[in-house]
Every structure is written in C-alpha cells, then in structure tokens.
C-alpha cells in the first residue's frame, strides 16, 4: 500500500507537472481540502486536459515522480481514457479526463482557483461533479460541502 498523500507530495506533483507543462486541476475532495474544506480523503483526484500532448506530459511527469507505468498503461493515459486509477507509485492518484458534471476542461480552467500555486477546480465545479456522480459517499459529503461553499464565498467577498 502506498504512503499517505502529504504536502510534500503535493509539492512534487506541482513541480513535476509544471516542468512538463501538464494542464491539470485538483478535483474532488482533495481539491475541496486544498480550498480549506476540513475533511478526510485517501487519494488525490486530478482533472487532466484530454489532449495527446498533455497525456504525454502527464506520463513523463508521473514517471519522474516514481510511478511504474508500462508502455501499454502509458499509451492509455496518452490516449486519455476517461478514468485512470494509479496505485503503482509513491502515492495513490486518480486521473480524471472527463469528470461527471463538468462539461469541459477549458471551462473549469477559466473558473479555477490557485491555492499556494496549486491549481484547483472552483468549488462549484467540485460540487457539480459530486452531485452528478451521486454516489452514496458523495451524497453524504454534499450538505457539509454546500455549507462550506457558503462560508468560502463569504470569505472571498
């Protein structure tokens, strides 16, 4: 089992993805946590722009971070499968190329928020994604996440 994700690893992602010019956003609960939402999660969810060039950049960055990707796996990421779950590296990460509830990466990028240099989906996109996924775990989180949205927007006014 990989180690618990921590700040140093988030910094490593940020640095490696920047070196390779990866277009990505933190999404899901890990994104909400970066925005200040106090909750727990196990892995980082990254919304990756679905282009071949960006897929190649992600593969290069992930290999640099220590993910053991086979050629076949690298090809899948470059092609941009909608969802890739990686547990073959120093921490667990989910690559999401087409998240539920968010129409385009470009739209999410226009709305995104930077937190200490980490690119994070706007909270409305995180909520929209969880609402559209509508899993039991999402329905459990959403009321508190909506309350956090009210708090977060008040702090930003």
């Amino acid at each position: 089992m990989a180690a618990r994700f921590d700040y140093a690893q988030a910094e490593e992602i940020r640095a490696a993805f920047a070196r390779h010019g990866v277009r990505y956003l933190f999404l899901g609960k890990s994104g909400a946590i970066l925005l200040g939402f106090p909750d727990t999660t196990q892995d980082a969810d990254l919304f990756i722009e679905k282009t071949v060039a960006n897929g190649r950049a992600v593969v290069a960055a992930l290999r640099e971070l220590g993910f053991a990707l086979t050629e076949a796996q690298a090809a899948e990421i470059e092609r941009g499968k909608d969802f890739v779950q990686l547990k073959n590296g120093p921490f667990d990460v989910d690559l999401v190329f087409a998240p539920d509830g968010i129409e385009t990466f470009e739209g999410a990028w226009r709305r995104h928020v930077e937190v200490e240099g980490f690119p994070v989906c706007h909270l409305d996109d995180i909520i929209a994604s969880k609402g559209a996924a509508n899993r039991v775990r999402d329905r459990e989180t959403l009321p508190r996440l909506l309350a956090f949205r009210d708090y977060w927007l008040r702090q930003r006014r």
């Binding site: 618990r4 106090p38 727990t40 909608d82 969802f83 929209a128």
Partner: protein, 91 residues
C-alpha cells in the same frame, strides 16, 4: 443574491444564503466553527490532517485500472466493490 443554477446537485438547487435543505441551524454552526478552525491552520497541516490511509477491499487490490468512460467506472464500482465503501449509488 447569486443563484446557484450551475451547480449540478440533483434536486438541491438553492440560492446563496438560503437554508441548507434538511440541515438544522445548530449543525451548520458546528460546521462553520470547523471551517473557521481549518482556515487558521497552514496548508501543510491541513493536508496532514486530511489525507488518511486505510485499506479498501477490492479497490486497493490492483496497482492500475483504467476505464474508457466514467459510466464504465461507475458500473464497475457497482458490480465489484462492497456497498459499504459508498462508491455505488444505492446503499
């Protein structure tokens, strides 16, 4: 007052500052106290508290999985994961 029509939370469209559906004021006050406390912590500390590591049966048993569509992934979760993990749409 800003509407939240862009929020895709089925059946839960709401207006900013409107009461959260089904949530009492005391609960919201408790949550807001937690949000305030979290806001006082630096980001590295917030991440240290937030990311945990526990074994999730089936889900953690493969080093790599990929799905052509999110619908495929959701279907796989429904068919293969224990319901108590919460990855399905039904309890």
């Amino acid at each position: 007052m800003q509407t939240c029509e862009g929020i895709g939370y089925p059946g839960r469209m709401r207006i900013d500052d409107a009461p959260l559906p089904g949530i009492d004021d005391e609960r919201v006050r408790q949550w807001e106290a937690e949000f305030e406390a979290a806001a006082r912590r630096p980001l590295p500390i917030r991440l240290r508290y937030a990311f945990i590591r526990t074994y999730k049966p089936v889900l953690d048993d493969a080093a790599y999985r990929s799905f052509d569509t999110m619908a495929d992934y959701r279907s796989w979760c429904e068919a293969n994961l224990p319901t108590w993990l919460g990855y399905g749409r039904q309890v």
